[in-house]
Amino acid sequence: MSPSLQNWIDIFVRVLDKLPLTLLMMVLSLFFALLIGLGIAIIRIQKYRYLYGIATLYLSFTRSTPLLVQLFLVYFGLPQLLLIINVDINHWDRLVFAIMAFSFHTGAFLSEVIRSAYLAVGKDQFEAAYSVGMSYSQALRRIILPQAFLISLPNLGNNIIELLKDTSLAFTIGIIDIMGQVRIILGNNHGIGMFQIYVVISLVYWATCIIIESLVGYAEKVFRKGHVGLSK
């Protein structure tokens, strides 16, 4: 094997080594973001008086400031702010801050996905459910949510891919994920150019995105099938 090919494979192995951390960040952030998004969506749908204003402000802030600023605010700002009430979180792991920032950011986008999917199902579905004697929670669980889930799947998939790409910013606060691995590789291996490493990294992200995309596409197919079966 030629030495340059060996180099490329070497970098690949080292970058892939950190893929689990990136995926872990993504999955955990996605989980918390879904919770936040659901909460915000319910507040905005039900129009709770004071909470509605706060939720709207949160959405506006999150969607019109760069993620990087939010990440820095959470990582540098939050511990400083909590010191006022004598809570010291400086010793927390960096990963916690990163996941907090990503959840906070993605939650805003997911809440709009959930809200629009809920609204897209339409009021008449609710009325139909009430007319056969279902309660609100029954209608929600049996009629509305299954349909809303299907509607939201493509958007959800897009947001998951966005989130995966967003995790590439975690290296700015010192997390050694795929991007953070660059420094280590450079430290160990002076002969290799930065260009090579970033090409490898982009290929890894690209492949991961394509896998997620096809998974979401598969899920869409599976759930749509069930949908058709039910309506017959």
């Binding site: 506006s60 802030f61 969607r63 019109s64 400031t65 760069p66 993620l67 990087l68 600023v69 939010q70 820095f72 605010l73 540098f76 700002g77 400083q80 702010l81 010191l83 006022i84 891919i161 790409k165 967003d166 590439s168 910013l169 991007m179 150019g193 930065m194 260009f195 970033y198 090409v199 990294i201 982009s202 992200y205 690209w206 995105c209 394509i210």
Partner: protein, 241 residues
Amino acid sequence: MAIVDFKFALEQVPAVLKGVPWTITIAIVAMLFGLILGLLIALCRIYKVPVLNQLSILYISFIRGTPLIVQLYVFFYGVPVLVDYLNPRLGLHIDADEIPPLMYALVAYTINTAAYQAEIFRSSINATNAGQMEAAYSVGMTTRQGLTRIVLPQALLIALPNLGNVFIGLIKATSLAFAVKVVEVLAISKIIANDGYRFIEMYLVASIIYWVLCLVCEFILFKLEKRMSRSETRMGLNASV
């Protein structure tokens, strides 16, 4: 020493505002060139131009499947490699070190945003009724005339909200320009914050600046959309009379 020093934050606002022109330059230039490039790519895909169509699909997939910051790094470290490769072969004498960082940023952001704009144009051109083009043919227009006079004005109107989102996305994306050594709003805030250990103040200042920028853009886009849709309803009325 107060934990959150608002006086300090206020004093630093003018310094951070010096980064705003960079942010806006990158966003506007990338947007304009992205519009042209995106439109060309969209047309390649709609008319299924051989080779170019496949290349466009690959390009769009790559741009949308990798983080912007990785693209910036690939571009920033890739251009010198390319220049080294091309110089002896083409007899050029370009010094990669002399290319200004802003140039890197402008080109890289254009390449990035063109992929997103291409998809927007593709969907909006497809959204205009196919009969429009047939009608244009029926009165003797060529394909180019039909596109520029009939289809594109309508497609642009449909695309406007999405293009607005892309522009706001670009403004936020400029916060990553530190990767190609451009010192804009966030980079300035970071430098000041590191100097005085004033993180929360400086990042709040930065976030408010971005927030205001985005709100202003949103407002302008809202006005623009209203204006353009007004002209559309007027056109619709004239046609129906």
